[in-house]
């Protein structure tokens, strides 16, 4: 199988590529609507600003093919901003429209804690998760973000807390996303990526 990485000109595409290579999975980068329409497995990496990702998707006309692929049930994994983009909007760029695949608004973590939420944290399982299958309950994952998605969502499979509780893992059908970076999360992250690849196969 080949994982299609959506390369919108920013983000952590190369580190995701390396992480997939380490578990023996081939990846290609695409940045066109045809590339997305033809993909059998999609991965949307992302770091940085919400507006950078949303603007790039719209400028490259990737929004529509991406929404269609998700609607067709093409296995999809969003990472970090790739999770946040799935929601309706984000306080980080209030005038822009998110993909709206999941209900709710991404909001800033509270200033009562150090921001960004940067480093290794654990997650709390809130629903059975295929993505986290076999991952030890006390595993740490690497986070680097200042905005986060609401925790009370039907698709939320695990939450984390930093000042407030937020969605760390979401899954709904073949749609998966993580707020943390599995590609930077050591063995636990590698196991999660393996789970995604075998679910997609």
């Amino acid at each position: 199988m080949i994982v299609t990485l959506i390369d919108y000109g920013a983000g952590n595409v190369a580190s995701v590529e390396r992480a997939l290579a380490r578990i023996g999975v081939a990846a290609i980068r695409v940045s066109t609507s045809e590339g997305i329409a033809n993909a059998t497995t999609l991965l949307l990496p992302g770091v940085g600003h919400f507006s950078a990702l949303i603007r790039a998707l719209d400028e490259k006309a990737l929004r529509q093919p991406l929404l269609e692929a998700i609607a067709r049930g093409v296995p999809f994994l969003g990472i970090c901003l790739g999770l946040q983009a799935l929601y309706e909007s984000s306080d980080e760029a209030p005038t822009l429209q998110g993909l709206g695949v999941l209900p709710g608004r991404v909001s800033a973590l509270p200033p009562t804690v150090k921001l960004p939420h940067m480093g290794w944290n654990r997650v709390r399982s809130t629903a059975p998760s295929r993505l986290l299958r076999g991952v030890p309950l006390d595993a740490y994952f690497y986070f680097a973000h200042s905005f986060a998605a609401p925790p009370a969502n039907a698709s939320t499979a695990a939450t984390c807390a930093h000042g407030v509780e937020f969605t760390a893992v979401t899954e709904q059908g073949n749609l998966f996303a993580t707020q943390f970076h599995p590609e930077k999360s050591g063995d636990a992250g590698a196991l999660l990526l393996r789970n995604f690849v075998s679910l997609a196969a």
């Binding site: 952590n12 190369a14 580190s15 390396r18 992480a19 380490r22 770091v47 940085g48 600003h49 200033p111 150090k114 921001l115 960004p116 939420h117 940067m118 480093g119 290794w120 944290n121 654990r122 997650v123 709390r124 030890p136 595993a139 740490y140 690497y142 680097a144 973000h145 200042s146 984390c160 807390a161 930093h162 970076h181 590609e183 930077k184 999360s185 050591g186 063995d187 636990a188 992250g189 590698a190």
Partner: protein, 254 residues
């Protein structure tokens, strides 16, 4: 759920090899960067920093190749720095595989660089490195490898850096660096309390107790060391075991 306190080995390189020495004098070879990176990744390091301490223009391609080789070994975040003076330098380092960029002297000389980096890569990718030296009543910011005074107060500069878009402070005590007499705890706590972003304590680490002090009294979010890890004086695993027994949340590789 609490964030684990991070242990970060630092690879000071001459571009190609890891080197060891105080104030650039008497540099000694301390190994291959990719081999050390693989070892630290397996031992449970939480991140890795690789620096080009020579940072000369003509050796730049060599350092970028070093970043590529190191990144290939890591399933943890990588920060790279040394000689980043412009956005284009940072882009090259990120393309080579760094997740974060660290800037020091160039940020003092042109603070707008911090904002440019933050806008392009996000605050989480911008690590402001501050070398601080104790003076009567405050800490003075040092530049050019600790040699010259920047005539800035370290706490004020840290706050300014965060305001400009830095997402993390890498704080090195010039007084303690290389002495193995422990981190400068008052300095670390002073900066950590003054800024809203995570602080990495650096300079002076030898004993596990030094790390415990940096995390407890120093309120550091992460702690960095170089030679004690390279020469095997301290293993990351046993350091983390000590910290866990002392009540500090740390991550063990599964």
């Amino acid at each position: 759920m609490t964030l684990a306190r991070r242990i970060i080995p630092c690879l000071d390189t001459d571009g190609a090899r890891v080197v060891k020495g105080i104030n650039f004098i008497g540099l000694r070879d301390a190994g291959d960067p990719a081999e050390l990176a693989a070892r630290y990744n397996a031992e449970g390091a939480d991140e890795l920093i690789v620096l080009d301490i020579a940072a000369s223009r003509d050796r730049r391609p060599t350092f970028l190749e070093t970043i590529r080789r190191v990144a290939a070994e890591l399933a943890i975040p990588l920060t790279a720095g040394g000689g980043i003076r412009a956005l284009e330098d940072a882009r090259a380092v990120v393309r080579a595989g760094a997740d974060k960029i660290t800037v020091n002297t160039a940020a003092v000389e042109q603070p707008e660089l911090i904002s440019q980096l933050s806008e392009e890569f996000g605050a989480q990718a911008v690590v402001l490195a501050i070398d601080a030296k104790h003076e009567t009543g405050n800490w003075d910011v040092r530049i050019r490898g600790g040699r010259d005074s920047a005539h800035l107060d370290a706490i004020a500069w840290a706050q300014k850096g965060v305001e400009l878009g830095a997402g993390e402070i890498l704080l090195t005590s010039v007084d303690r660096d290389g002495t193995q007499s422990g981190f400068d705890v008052p300095l670390t706590a002073g900066i950590s309390r003054a800024v809203s972003v995570p602080v990495i304590a650096s300079g002076g680490a030898k004993l596990p107790e030094h790390f415990l002090q940096a995390f407890s009294e120093g309120e550091a979010d992460a702690a960095l060391a170089a030679s004690i890890f390279h020469d095997g004086t301290q293993s990351i695993r046993s350091l983390k075991q000590f910290l866990a027994q002392s009540g500090i949340p740390v991550r063990f590789p599964c």
